[in-house]
Symmetry: C3
Subunit: 309 residues, 3 copies
């Protein structure tokens, strides 16, 4: 198992053992991420953060990660300031990251962009989301959150709630959770159910799965609820959307009968799918989950740059 020089394009390219290695290193990074401990492990390193679409949380957590380890970053948060509008190809832009830095974090609206970047860049490329494609570091921080908060992933029951049809986050996470031996409950309106091919593939993988439209029932059985946004645009009828958004909202009433240790997760940003009244409760894990993005990304950077074995 060697991470040095490796690209992080899809979670599918990582074995369970490899992901466990990332999570293990991430735990070592925790005190540094909280500044309880100092590190200069990545002193002298420069990270490129090339964001072709806005994603504040992902961008800032990567930048925090390199800073916490003593490194520096360059890049852009907005394609308007790039040479894209002069007609430059992504392949040529990628060569900049190769020339000016030691690794590249790429966010791009088109599926497959990270794969293409990795082909053209001799330095490690980390996919920070490519359209409807992959967002592997999100999956890794989701796994880290469950492991840190529930003690293990194996044997835990995770309810995935919301738009399971289009949400890339839940597809990648379902795959990874199944690999780690978690049980899954898919909770969604009929219009937004987990695609059949994914369900089948998970079943073949040996995953324990359940599907339901009843959030209230799922909540009673789950160790973790993973909530995703339901986008208005998915519904031709706005009234239909309103109804669904109301039914699949996490709020105090719903959590009244939930297990005491239930954790509520969300990749953020949220809009109305989790009521702010949940924030002060012990169930609310989504802000801590966002923080966990820092140690996980620190771990990945240290690994692909070869500063941790």
């Amino acid at each position: 198992m060697n991470f040095r020089g490796r690209d992080v394009v899809s979670i599918r390219e990582f074995s369970r053992q490899e992901i466990e290695r990332v999570l293990h290193v991430a735990r070592d990074m925790l005190p540094v991420a909280e500044r309880r401990k100092r590190s200069n492990m990545l002193d002298g390193y420069v990270l490129s953060t090339f964001f072709y679409e806005p994603s504040t949380r992902t961008r800032l957590s990567f930048q925090s990660a390199i800073c916490r380890l003593g490194g520096r970053y360059i890049g852009f948060a907005d394609p308007a300031v790039t040479s894209m509008k002069k007609g430059e190809t992504l392949a040529d832009t990628v060569k900049m990251a190769e020339a000016y830095s030691d690794a590249m974090v790429l966010r791009h609206p088109h599926e497959g962009a990270a794969r293409l970047a990795a082909e053209f860049c001799s330095k490690p490329v980390i996919n920070a989301g490519d359209g409807a494609g992959q967002h592997p570091t999100q999956t890794m921080l989701d796994l880290f959150t469950i492991k840190e908060e529930l003690g293990s992933i194996d044997g835990k029951t995770v309810a995935m709630v919301g738009d399971l049809k289009y949400g890339r986050t839940v597809h990648s996470l379902s795959y990874a959770l199944a690999m780690f031996g978690a049980e899954l409950i898919f909770v969604s309106p009929r219009e937004l159910q987990m695609p059949k091919d994914i369900v089948e593939s998970l079943s073949e993988q040996g995953a324990k799965l359940k599907s339901t439209t009843r959030l209230d029932e799922a909540v009673k059985e789950a160790d973790a609820v993973y909530v995703t946004r339901i986008q208005k645009e998915r519904f031709p009828d706005p009234n239909e959307y309103q109804k669904v958004a109301g039914i699949y909202q996490i709020n105090a009433a719903l959590l009244k009968d939930a297990p005491e240790d239930l954790i509520v997760m969300h990749p953020l940003p949220r809009v109305t799918e989790i009521s702010p009244e949940v924030d002060p409760t012990k169930h609310a894990l989504y802000f801590k989950q966002a923080f966990y993005g820092v140690p996980v990304r620190m771990a990945l950077l240290a690994l692909v740059l070869g500063e941790v074995e």
Copy 2:
């Protein structure tokens, strides 16, 4: 008096003694701000600079301040690159700064935004201007400028010139100058006089105040002239604006009869309210005043982060 972990939302929350502490630390920072001396006091620290509206001078001076002390920054200068447009609340965005950094500098168009941010963020929040609200670090650097250049604030006469009705800068500064025992001359067209309630409140505070429409006379009595922009939009009649803008402009002719040591200050950016012909004179203090933003912000960061007592 303890600054560690403290929010800096309004100048009103700081006693004279506390502000004097900030100014004292700022003086210690001067050689580091000018790079005559090296410091790594904030090594390993990450500062969030979240700017929801452009403010180059404030943003860059905070970033210079953290850099000069060996720290790093993350953030945005433009809300277009944030999740705001996905409908995320300010409260949720603030939790990012909490998760990814050690302190947050916030600029926001809405009054009260910094207060709200401070409520949601467990790390120190520094208000870098919130609409018609407060901009406390501007007031502190203004005080620092007067103290450094005139030797003291107590007993000095400061003429405030321009839009005294709407200008938040001059309201906060008037309050602070009165607290420090300065005498104030309010110089403005009748349409833009200092609001009555502020004048009354300052009088009750024991401040020595004078009001006039005559800039030429005020200049003869003052130790410092603090100039602010008069915005065209305040005048329904453009001719009226032109007349006023001409009368309240600082230029060479006006300064011919001014005391030799008179200093001219301005929060910048300026447009026409100070003629460029003033720039090479010894009266022109506004560029140095802008520089003083660096040591003052270095002091505040070091204090709220607990690296200076």
Copy 3:
């Protein structure tokens, strides 16, 4: 020869000996630019990168340069986030760089902007392109590329291809190459020939020059081909543009008969003027040329900041 505190506005202000000094220091910087060696030469320094128009390659290479030497940067990549729209002059904005940092890199759409900035800023100003004006660090990295790759500049033959009429890059570079004793072949369509006054001035300088419309012939004689973009807007007739763009494209067929050691250079970004099929060949030097921007800019920063003699 002293670089400390010096502005870098135009290549014309540098003697051959001075440019050779820059290239020599740049070579020393190579292992640091590649992170094979660590340096903290510019620890504690802050660089302002003020970009009034997008130029990703130039901006990121300057930022990489200061980072590789242990320094930090502040600035903007987009004038929309500045006070420009409040009506602030460039002269006043420049005073910010002076107050908050140790040197300023300026990109501006108007010719002469860097000269003006240098007048108002007491710290070194480096011109990163001002409209149709100068871009001296591009010329320096072009020279460095030729010297590193061909062993010398003196006596080498460089074919300049494309828009020689409007391209500032090729004007500055022609002047510098002539000063270094290179022979020049100007290759362009008749509509875009090198301006007569430049040709005459080069001849007076003692330069060996040739002009042709035949790219295929020039390629056979050259040690280096320097390609620039031909802009569609130069041609009233789109068909005429298409024809010209086709004739002056570097592709595999053209390079079939080229000397084995021929190098192909381009300031980038490119659009269609070099076919991607050239990229994997040993002739393709343009990506390495972009990388060379880092050591050259490191050298310039270290020199004007006085950390290298």
